[in-house]
Symmetry: C2
Subunit: 343 residues, 2 copies
DNA sequence: CTGTTAGCGCTTTCAT
DNA sequence: ATGAAAGCGCTAACAG
């Protein structure tokens, strides 16, 4: 039934040349010059037979497989995974590579096994992606292939790609200022004097540093800073609700969209209007940001661009060590007023 | 630097046996019985050298690669992709397989190219996943490997995995009935006499059929059926808002969570309370369902289980043709009352 | 029960 | 300018 796959030998035979010649022509080696006629015949033969090189044979011979491993801690848990994978995938495809995806759940043995499974398949490179932008990532096995860290960093592998969180923090404050907000700003999600957060990644520290830097730069200060354990809607709701009892903020700067989501719910119960009485800005560009009424203006995590860049770096022989920062895009929606909020 | 990889020959040499013997022992072929001592020596040698078989060589020889291709139209566009990929990935890993993921954007040439790229790599099977549960999926190239359709179907490949939408539809109505709702129910998202939806997949038809079947079964009827072009929050909001002007529903059955999200927003502006004045149920178990206040009770799309099952089928030599339906789980939250809504 | 031989399909010396 | 031969690492036949 399933006809045997056509091999290079078949192509060569049909073209009336040796496999060697066919190989050289089809792989486009530049140094050797076979006749134009030979080229034509080989290409014609390959096309007419529908020849596709056998990747295993090629990998065995050349030690390169035109495949990349994308190893991450979690692929599904976070909505973020998608963009990272999609970007990497697109860049891989453009370069004629294929992508293996492996998930480790953050468990060391699974990390090791994932690396081995990838190396066994002669992958040409590995992207380690931290979905949760965690601390360092350390699969302690020898890795011969090039490695790029995505959304995380590691002392061992100096090439990495991350969102430009510091600039993002600055941007958010600038957005607020440009909307005419200059006082009674509440920060939702963090209070340096009362830090109750889960472990905050280094990236989050940069986000906060960017905010504080820009606030100082503009002579602005927070009326209040609200800390919470976990950045989920429930906490945003509770904190905002109780804050609103004794504070009349002009704006709430939320450290992520899920907190902002909760804040919307609390504000909705007061009769105050967004953005005319209270302005909101946030981070991440979660899917919910566009569902809200009015839409939530937020500085987005550029996941797809990050994935692309990581793959580009991995595939670029001329890459050099260091961290590539990707700009966080401004998603303008309706939660920031045209003119200063009034109350 | 990077020491040459250790090969089977190295293991055999250290164990004092032939490569053949080592191969048989390590691959665990049952038919041949080498001495227990030989086994021990080979395993010891392999372990001490850290031997890992070269996958390319093995694939070349055996025509099997312990890898599966997951080819989908979109990986990132929908929040659904995650679960499907994650489930398939987990099942693949458990079976010692690796997963290639390829995206086609639904473009025929990319579909063909994806299949070829996979086949070139000797994948042992292919999962075609339709993120949007579209019509049929037809990459018109010869495919020797086994294929499982995931969240979609194809005349060409009879093995498929889908959510049990008909039962899901029944379940939602049952949930409503059990919550004491028996009249003034509004259906949000579909009106058979005024169908303005985008192309609805076959699965959605089943969902609606399940609903109607169960309604009839219980002698229930819809007070109103609201149709809209696209199942996004905006439409849910607009439809609910205007419906509320001349109707006093006791419950709204939403055809997906995003519509329900919009309905919540509209209801929130009226002062009516969920679930005591209006009950809501919905489908999908989108992330937002748990963000809402009260939480949205919804019948979820079992993506992870579907992904697992697709991979399981693909890897099972004894699989038989047909569609495997996966149960849609009930996510009980607060949008359904303990006792009949009153107003 | 164990080892030798051959060859999967390709690329790469090295001769011609 | 082209081809023959070797060999990547592994496993399936077949001999011993």
């Amino acid at each position: 039934m399933a006809k045997k796959r056509v091999t290079l030998a078949d192509v060569a035979r049909l073209a009336g040349l040796s496999p060697t010649a066919a190989s050289m022509i089809l792989t486009g080696r530049p140094d050797t010059r076979l006749s134009a006629e030979a080229h034509a015949k080989v290409h014609a033969a390959a096309a007419s037979l529908g020849y596709r090189p056998n990747a295993a044979a090629r990998a065995l011979r050349t030690d390169r497989s035109r495949s990349i491993a994308f190893i991450s801690d979690y692929v599904a848990t976070t909505r973020y995974a998608n963009g990272l994978i999609r970007g990497a995938l697109a860049a891989a495809e453009e370069a004629g590579h294929v992508m293996l995806v492996l998930e480790t759940g953050g468990a060391p043995e699974r990390e090791i096994e994932a690396v081995r499974a990838a190396l066994d398949r002669q992958v040409d490179g590995i992207i380690f992606a931290a979905m949760r932008a965690r601390e360092v990532f350390v699969p302690d096995v020898p890795i011969a292939a090039p490695v790029v860290m995505l959304n995380g960093s590691s002392a061992r592998f100096p090439i990495s790609v991350a969102p430009d969180e510091f600039a993002g923090g600055q941007t958010v404050v600038r957005l607020l200022a440009e909307a005419g907000v200059s006082e009674r700003i509440v920060l939702l999600g963090h209070n340096p004097d009362d830090e109750r957060g889960l472990f905050r990644s280094e990236f989050i520290s940069r986000r906060i540093a960017g905010i504080n830097h820009e606030m100082a730069e503009r002579g602005l200060r927070f009326e209040k800073q609200l800390s919470c354990w976990n950045w989920e809607p429930d906490h945003g709701y509770d904190l905002t609700k109780s804050m609103l009892r004794d504070t009349s903020p002009t704006a709430i700067l939320c450290l992520n969209d899920r907190l902002a989501f909760g804040a919307y719910q609390a504000i909705g119960q007061t009769g105050l209007s967004i953005p005319n009485n209270i302005a909101l800005v946030s981070f991440d560009n979660d899917e919910v940001a566009s569902y809200l009424r009015p839409g939530l203006t937020t500085v987005g995590l550029p996941h797809e661009a990050m994935g692309r860049e990581a793959m580009r770096l991995l595939l670029d022989p001329a890459r050099s060590p260091g961290e590539t920062l990707i700009e966080m895009p401004i998603m303008r929606r309706g939660s920031l007023p045209e003119q200063a909020p009034t109350r």
